[in-house]
């Protein structure tokens, strides 16, 4: 007999109202600024007014004289604490990040001093009285500045912060592109974006007793934040407790603690007082880390029938001065063609340092891949005379094509963009629209239809140590109610509702009886919180497994007490039933009473209590797919875009709560609309931010965001527990190309639209008018985009292709190599940050052999010696199968060289004797 395991059915998949909403909507949320502690003081920062310069003198005397000022601190006051400002991956940055500026400032808003005062008013009064003399220097502001200007950071050899893909040109790929029947190329730039959470950053730090610390933090997950603090400060994790009850949005900004939060925590320890800092909106728009600011030149070769032949991408992203992890955004390249039949793809990607605020994540950090690809496909369709939807169908990988492996080495099992597109087109009558469009054009009205597809890796659990697994601890309390401590974390995600739905259904209890806690690092186990669209899949899976284990125990216990067999027991609505001739029941509360209070009545050997902890690791990647369509009207008189209709079709697997799924899609699309039409953080040539309030940084408002139509018909369960797929970032990824394509379609009678976001009314009216409306300035400012800067050196064309060419090396003089035998400490600069490991080398004639030791793992290799040049290959399997080709020079008592990492380009290696 297969008794149903899930006995209270209908919670998973139900459109339930969110438990947390009543509290949040009636002003009863608890955000960091709602925290007040006895003796707490307030912090305000004094920040650099210039983008780049040397600090000559700092005069704090006037600030210190203000009554109510408790302390004024600068970097030297905090220097007693050693802090490693780690990346999100907990890696050390190549360029160390100071907590407060030391000797030099690197962007407008760089924090130099902090005032601690009895209230924020006084703190700001005093911060305004700090006098700093600078020796100002010309800043490096744009990507073009970074490539050609002076070094942002001393002791670096270029402004390249991170690199993926080699500088060498791949002749084979270039030949394919050059000789194809059709070559379509776009130059696209994405503006800089401020994540703009409704609640800016904030922290309350309270030293507790001897060396313990409680930190109230607006963040994406208290467990990860506690782990970050512990590792950055070299403190035991148990002595740091991070509490994060309600968070008003993050979108990537609060992924890890950063300079201001760290400064406040250090100052609290120094002063032995609780301190509060709440970032205000001016600070948030000028000093908090930001995102995007990317450029891409994408080239694609097509056959006459629209078949994809080859492609190359050249990509740059502004990392600012201190990125939260230097990044060349490898995921852009990983997913650009992951869902398409494309035989050859090469790329060259660079992250660049500039004198601007640092790069942080933003919902769908790699979203540019979909924007560039989908916009290019529409351009190609027009050029080749093939319908844009048909062109997509010819290259999309369908369910029938899978399983398969992409040229980038990605193993696909169940992506479904083609099937989502089919479902989408059941709800969008393209032919009828084309008739309406033609009629409208006769009246001088410009309607356009845009379509896009995409896939998204969600809930990744491979390769990134902080993102592997999630924990759920479920307790049936002695009262019969259910408490769950889950390592998810909501910044508005509604996980207190969705996780409770999962637990209630799998346990067979009433939804109202389940309370989910996720706000305190001292409760439950490690988990990253909200990252990479993972909470439904990873957190939901953990809840299912934990609930199932608990059900197993309940069945054994109830069977024993009720004199039945475990398989005859089931739970429904918090009541335990026994199948059989005469049905017996017992309430969960009575059972819990016995479990905790009378363990002698339990089966022989069974532990007291009713609680289970489970750590779930989902499959390596769970793919979500979607296709969207959007219809716009562009006003021919003003260039304004009106969104008339937006239809979505996605495969997000089994939905826990369709309302939450649709809320995630809608929120992402609202941000997409902002990106395409209005949001822009810009700088003047001196590095001064020019949109510093919401009067100038334009977020879409309710009147700019239409009602979206949602279709879930193409969904299929994933292989993850529960069949869920992530849906957190998708709208922000697929939204921009959908909208850009609709605008391009509307204005196609006038030619191509510019691909420099945002597409403001001004830019679109220029297309309609067929003329520039720029100011007739005598000196045009030097443009930063490859499209507008033909005089620049040509974008270097990379070889980093799937087919690995060999590189020739010149012979070098013979040196004594036996001297390198022994133990070495190596540092490899990977696209995910520098990685340190130890290794052992041994030489014999012209053969070098050795082993590397990574975190209790070992890899051995054998290679050749030629003069002072060493070469060996090392095969690794994580995060994907790849052969690393080492090419190392002996330089005195050091080893320097590079490692070719297949399609991921070349990384620098340095070694020192242990």
């Amino acid at each position: 007999m297969n008794a149903p395991h899930t006995q209270t059915e209908g919670y998973i998949g139900r459109r339930m109202a969110r438990t947390e909403d009543t509290r949040l909507l009636t002003g009863k949320g608890v955000y960091v600024d709602d925290v007040g502690l006895p003796g707490m003081l307030q912090v305000a920062f004094h920040r650099s007014p210039i983008a780049r310069g040397r600090i000559k003198t700092i005069d704090l005397s006037a600030a210190r004289e203000i009554p109510g000022v408790y302390a004024v601190l600068i970097a030297s006051d905090l220097a007693r604490y050693k802090v490693d400002m780690l990346s999100f991956f907990l890696a050390l940055p190549t360029v160390p990040v100071p907590v407060l500026a030391v000797d030099r400032v690197t962007y407008v808003g760089d924090p130099i001093a902090m005032v601690v005062a009895q209230d924020r008013y006084i703190a700001e009064d005093a911060a305004g009285l700090i006098v700093i003399e600078y020796e100002e220097q010309d800043p490096v502001v744009t990507l073009a500045d970074a490539k050609h200007g002076s070094l942002v950071h001393p002791r670096t050899d270029s402004n390249v912060a991170a690199a993926t893909g080699s500088d060498e040109v791949d002749e084979d790929l270039e030949a394919l592109l050059a000789h194809a029947p059709h070559l379509v190329s776009i130059d696209l730039t994405h503006q800089r974006i401020a994540q703009s959470p409704m609640e800016p950053r904030g922290v309350v730090a309270a030293p507790q007793g001897s060396g313990e610390l409680t930190v109230y933090l607006s963040c994406q997950g208290p467990q990860l934040a506690a782990r970050w603090f512990a590792q950055a400060f070299g403190m035991p994790a148990t002595s740091i407790r991070v509490i994060s009850k309600d968070v008003g949005g993050s979108f990537g900004l609060k992924g890890q603690p950063w300079r201001e939060e760290v400064a406040v925590v250090l100052a609290a320890q120094l002063l032995k007082r609780p301190l509060k800092w709440i970032e205000d909106r001016l600070e948030n728009l000028t000093s908090a880390n930001q995102a995007r600011e990317q450029e891409i030149r994408l080239r694609v070769a097509f056959d006459n029938d629209g078949t994809l032949l080859a492609s190359h991408a050249d990509y740059g992203i502004n990392n600012g001065a201190y990125p939260q992890g230097a990044d060349s955004n490898i995921a852009v390249m990983m997913f650009l063609w992951a869902a398409h039949k494309l035989p050859v793809f090469g790329f060259h990607a660079r992250g660049w340092y500039t004198n601007t605020v640092g790069l942080a994540a933003y919902r769908g950090p790699w979203a540019l891949e979909s924007l560039a690809r989908e916009v290019l496909l529409d351009r190609a369709a027009r050029k080749l005379g093939i319908d844009a939807i048909e062109l997509r169908r010819r290259s999309l990988i369908t369910r029938a094509d899978q399983p398969c492996t992409t040229p980038m080495g990605l193993q696909l099992e169940d992506i479904s963009p083609a099937e989502c597109l089919d479902e989408l087109l059941r709800h969008v009558d393209v032919a009828a629209f084309r008739v309406e469009q033609a009629e409208a054009r006769k009246q001088g009205r410009y309607l356009g239809l845009g379509v896009a597809t995409y896939i998204e890796p969600t809930a990744g659990s491979t390769g990134i140590a902080v993102l592997i697994s999630e924990s759920a601890h479920i307790r049936i309390e002695p009262t019969g109610k259910v408490s769950a401590v889950v390592s998810t974390h909501s910044q508005g995600h509604g996980t207190q509702t969705t996780m409770a739905q999962v637990i209630a259904e799998r346990l067979g209890v009433l939804f109202e009886d389940v309370t989910v806690h996720e706000d305190d690092s001292s409760r439950g186990g490690y988990g990253s919180g909200a990252y990479g669209s993972r909470q439904a899949v990873a957190g939901g899976g953990a809840c299912i497994r934990a609930a199932d284990l608990l059900v197993d125990k309940i069945k054994l216990m109830a069977a024993h007490l009720l004199n039945a067999k475990p398989e005859e027991i089931f739970l429904r609505d918090s009541v335990i039933h026994v199948f059989g001739e005469k049905e017996q029941t017992v309430s969960l509360r009575d059972l819990a009473d016995i479990a905790y209070g009378e363990p002698d009545r339990l089966p022989e050997g069974m532990d007291a209590g009713l609680e289970v902890q489970y750590r779930y690791r989902p499959p390596p990647i769970t793919m979500t797919s979607a296709a969207h369509a959007c219809i716009v009207e562009v006003d021919g008189d003003t260039g304004f875009v009106k969104i008339r209709r937006w239809v979505t079709s996605e495969d997000c697997g089994v939905m826990i709560n369709p309302a939450v799924v649709e809320g995630q899609i809608a929120g992402g699309l609202a941000q997409a609309i902002g990106c395409v039409l209005m949001e822009e953080i810009s700088y003047d040539p001196r590095g001064n931010p020019t949109a510093v309030t919401y009067k100038d940084y334009l977020l879409p408002s309710i009147s700019d965001v239409p009602d979206f139509e949602y279709h879930h018909g193409a969904s299929a369960p994933s292989k993850a527990e529960g069949g869920f797929r992530g849906v957190g970032e998708g709208g922000c990824i697929i939204g921009p190309p959908t909208l850009v394509n609709a605008i391009a379609d509307a204005l196609s009678p006038f030619g191509d639209i510019p691909l420099q976001l945002p597409l403001t009314p001004h830019k679109l009216l220029e297309v309609i008018e067929g003329r520039s409306m720029a100011r007739p300035a005598p000196t045009q400012p030097k443009a930063s985009t490859p499209a507008d800067a033909p005089s620049e050196k040509p974008m270097s064309v990379a070889e980093a292709v799937v087919h690995e060419p060999s590189s020739a090396l010149t012979p070098v003089p013979v040196v004594e190599t036996a001297g390198i035998d022994g133990l070495w400490k190596f540092i490899l600069s990977t696209p995910m940050g520098p990685q340190a490991f130890t290794g052992k080398l041994a030489t014999s004639g012209n053969v070098v052999s050795g082993s590397f030791y990574f975190n209790m793992d070992e890899a051995s290799f054998t290679g050749t010696i030629n003069g002072n040049n060493l070469k060996w290959d090392l095969k690794v399997t994580k995060p994907m199968s790849i052969t690393l080709k080492y090419d190392v020079q002996i330089q005195g008592d050091k080893l320097v060289g590079k490692v070719k990492m297949g399609i991921f380009g070349t990384a620098k290696l340095s070694g020192e004797r242990v």
Binding site: Y121, T638, K695, S701, P761, H762, R775
Partner: protein, 288 residues
């Protein structure tokens, strides 16, 4: 974003407020609805020594009919302007303009006098005052005077008001009941300041334009009265208007500039378009 220290005074009469202004000798700022001033204080872009809160002065509230026009108290909230039956009848374009000021929540506090005194060049109410030929009544301890709206604005946020003066009323002259309102605002989002805005009214007698009051906002350092097109329209038969030619004249007096959101040329181009579109639509709909 916390204001610098200031003294806070709450007068209950105009005389008291004028005395306080005089005593402050230019160091005081009046607080009306606070929808612009409070953010400026928070950003420390405005740091007055004294804030004089005029919200409790009853004589500054309400709208009344006076000989030949309507007298509006400067402390009338923008939402009160929208809801006032007298203003709806006498000054429909003022009501339309007020509906475009900020958002419902800000209009509950924001006042007509505060907006007119601030002189934001892209704001709706100063331009409407200019278009309709309004004037402001101002007081100080030295007495009172009237300033025509067209003479009030000197530059962005710069007015002919002396530091010790306060607006005590805004006078709008009567326009005939069958006047035709002209209003069109192009803003990036509803509630934003205009990229380009057009406001005013025309009257038609015997098929010809008999009176025209038209002004632009967002088209220069101050509200800009479109004098050339007003003159050209007078006496023109509405059945036979050269809209393109008039649109060209309409922007002839403007002096728009480039900013983050649009260039001067965009503003001029869109200005011509919305002038022709608005005038054409309104005359067809309301013409004889």
């Amino acid at each position: 974003m916390k204001p610098a220290p200031f003294d806070y005074l709450v007068p209950s009469t105009i005389e008291e407020a004028c005395a306080q202004l005089a005593e402050a000798g230019g160091g005081a700022t009046l607080l009306a609805g606070g929808q612009t001033l409070m953010p400026l204080l928070a950003l420390r872009m405005s740091q007055p020594f004294i804030l004089i809160d005029i919200n409790r002065i009853k004589a500054l509230k309400g709208a009344t009919r006076v000989d030949g026009g309507t007298r509006i108290g400067p402390m009338m909230r923008q939402n009160e302007v929208i809801a006032d039956p007298t203003l709806a009848r006498e000054l429909p374009v003022l009501v339309t303009a007020a509906q475009h000021v900020g958002h419902h929540q800000t209009r509950n506090r924001g006042t007509i006098g505060g907006s007119i005194a601030l002189g934001e060049p892209a704001a709706e109410l100063p331009a409407t005052a200019v278009a309709l030929g309004a004037s402001v009544e101002v007081r100080s301890t030295r007495g009172s005077r009237r300033i025509a709206a067209t003479d009030l604005y000197l530059g962005p946020y710069a007015t002919a008001l002396e530091p010790e003066e306060m607006i005590t009323a805004i006078h709008f002259p009567d326009w005939p009941d069958d006047s035709i309102s002209l209003f069109r605002e192009v803003a990036q989002r509803p509630g934003d300041f205009a990229l380009v805005g057009l406001t005013g009214a025309v009257t038609v007698k015997d098929g010809c334009i008999a009176r025209a009051g038209i002004a632009w906002f967002g088209m220069g350092p101050t509200p800009i009265r479109a004098r050339q097109v007003e003159a050209a329209l007078l006496g023109q038969p509405i059945a036979d208007l050269d809209l393109a030619g008039l649109a060209e004249l309409a922007v002839a007096d403007t002096a728009p500039f480039d900013d983050l959101h649009a260039t001067a040329e965009y503003r001029r181009t869109v200005g011509r378009r919305i002038f022709a579109r608005t005038l054409g639509e309104r005359l067809n709909r309301n013409g004889p």
